[in-house]
Amino acid sequence: MTKISHNKKPIRLSTVVDHAILVIGALVMLFPVYLALTTTSHDNITLSREGLKFGFGDQMSVNFYTAMFEKGGFTEQINGTKMLINSLILGVGFAIGKIVLSMAAAYAIVYFRLRFATFAFWVIFTTILLPLEVRILPSYEVVTGLGMANTYAGLIVPLLASATGTFFFRQFFLSVPEELVEAARIDGAGPGKFFIDILVPLSRTMIAAIFIIMFVYGWNQYLWPTLITTDESLFTLVRGIKQITQSVYEGNTIPEYGQAWALAIIAMLPPVLIVIFFQSWFVKGLVESEK
């Protein structure tokens, strides 16, 4: 790197170009969401008459209040707050389920003398070959057949049938020095004690990283919730986007842009904030888990 004593040199043209490219990139990323935000601050008639506005109006609190606390509009039965709660249940439930299942499985595969360990590994491994999207119809039929349609379990558990987390923890456990488990055994610690007192504390950062990735993944699920939850009281925010689009683009009345975008903003906010505030964990989790 050329970080060595540039202090006295005048600003170079290439540096200006570099910054210009990055600023343009950042603006392109921000612009659509900024526009969505300004849209929430105007009333519907103004928007449909005059088009989107680049400045803020004074309707923001009204639009957010209606979207979050009043029933009706896009869905008959629930308001934004209930959808937010459902989204949190899906995001947190999925992340915790993923961590518990995959840590247990990875622990069994890495730390035990187990005859069918290789077989179990391959059974789990195969799941990365087929994403949910390509087996969506039969998955829907199986889950409906089990009576799990329109339940939180039916929403969350089928999404857990994948290998990603297990790989992540397997890789990490393999990198933990062998001496630790040897020392623990000499001291008389059993597998349960070793796991809770040594391995879990060692994995703290890894758990945090994978929690963030999985929370965002769960929160952002769309196709599966669209199929499996037809009962409005189970709608998540991202699932609700479909209803919102239909009412904005297929209805005959003046579209409720303000409320629609208030809900869409709420649908983006938690995962975006988490990714920004826990950036280093998030990047670590993402880059490590894909190795």
């Binding site: 970080k3 990323m29 659509p32 299942l101 035990f112 187990l114 039969p138 488990v181 983006m268 894909e290």
Partner: protein, 293 residues
């Protein structure tokens, strides 16, 4: 497995069981059902189904509509992959180079990762809105009437823009971390040997980045094939017949709207084979990477 492993016989079984049961019920069973029902034709009145052999597959192979969707999927995948990887590479190289504000740029260029594809699609629907969208206004200013949801090519254009926008952050994160993992000694040696920044990039940086780039190539293909479902579902606005769709979207419309279980399952199986091929490619490449280092 560790050398000093525990030898309790039942505990590992208990630990593995929940994961294995969930995978058996919600992965292997549906996957088997998809393969099985691809050889049957559903009775239109719901009276069971008949074994038809490979008929569903030959029907697919002959269908001009399927060929059209497959053609669009290939086009869409190539364009989205090339544009999002290219843009992300440019941004990552610059973000790696600048000294001031590096962290701020990194945050500003990666946060869109957290936005769900259907929400991105909804943002696209806003920008390209027929009545109030600023991009539609911009095109109108140059005399072109952009009609999303009505004109096939216009919708395709908007879908590509949104899908690329949504995918840039992932590529950016991986490419930047790939660039930052290149040792300082290598960079300094390259700097002494070669003054030209462009030459340095293509001779030193790019080859060292190749494993990351290859991994991202597969990731992007998978993204364009599967994860763009949300973008497409929102942007076709309930009218997939006259709009561009991808193969995965067709599995969904044929199965859930058209009620063609056999045909939809056959399409699923075709996609399974495709994903299988991609994954094998990826792992062969990974193996080679391990041999290098």
């Amino acid at each position: 497995m560790k050398r000093a492993a525990f030898s309790q016989p039942l505990m590992p079984v208990a630990l593995l069981l929940p994961q294995l049961v969930i995978i058996a019920v919600f992965f292997y069973w549906p996957a088997w059902e998809a393969i099985y029902s691809s050889f049957f034709l559903q009775d239109p009145f719901g009276f069971g189904s008949n074994f038809v052999g490979a008929d569903n597959y030959t029907r697919l192979a002959k269908s001009s509509e399927y060929a059209k969707v497959a053609g669009f999927t290939v086009f869409f995948t190539v364009i989205v992959t090339v544009l999002s990887l290219g843009t992300a590479l440019l941004l990552a190289v610059k973000a790696d180079k600048v000294i001031r504000g590096a962290k701020t740029y990194r945050t500003l260029l990666m946060w869109v990762y957290a936005i769900a594809p259907p929400v991105a699609g909804f943002l696209g629907a806003l920008l390209f809105d027929q009545n109030i969208g600023p991009i539609t206004d911009l095109f109108a200013f140059f005399g072109y009437n952009l009609q999303i949801g009505l004109n096939y090519n216009d919708t395709a254009f908007a879908m590509i823009v949104v899908s690329v926008w949504k995918q840039i952050p992932v590529n950016f994160i991986f490419l930047l971390s790939g660039l930052q993992s290149i040792p300082v000694a290598v960079r300094e040696a390259a700097l002494i040997d070669n003054k030209s920044g462009t030459r340095r990039f293509w001779d030193i940086t790019f080859p060292l980045l190749a494993p990351t780039a290859f991994f991202l190539l597969i990731t992007n293909i998978t993204y364009a094939l599967f994860d763009t479902f949300g973008v497409i579902d929102i942007m076709v606005k309930g009218n997939p017949a006259s709009n561009p769709i991808t193969l995965v979207y067709k599995v969904y419309t044929d199965g859930f709207r058209g009620g063609d279980l056999g045909g939809s399952s056959a399409q699923s199986v075709v996609l399974m084979v495709l994903v299988l091929a991609l994954t094998i490619m990826q792992f062969r490449m990974l193996e080679r990477r391990i041999h290098y280092t």
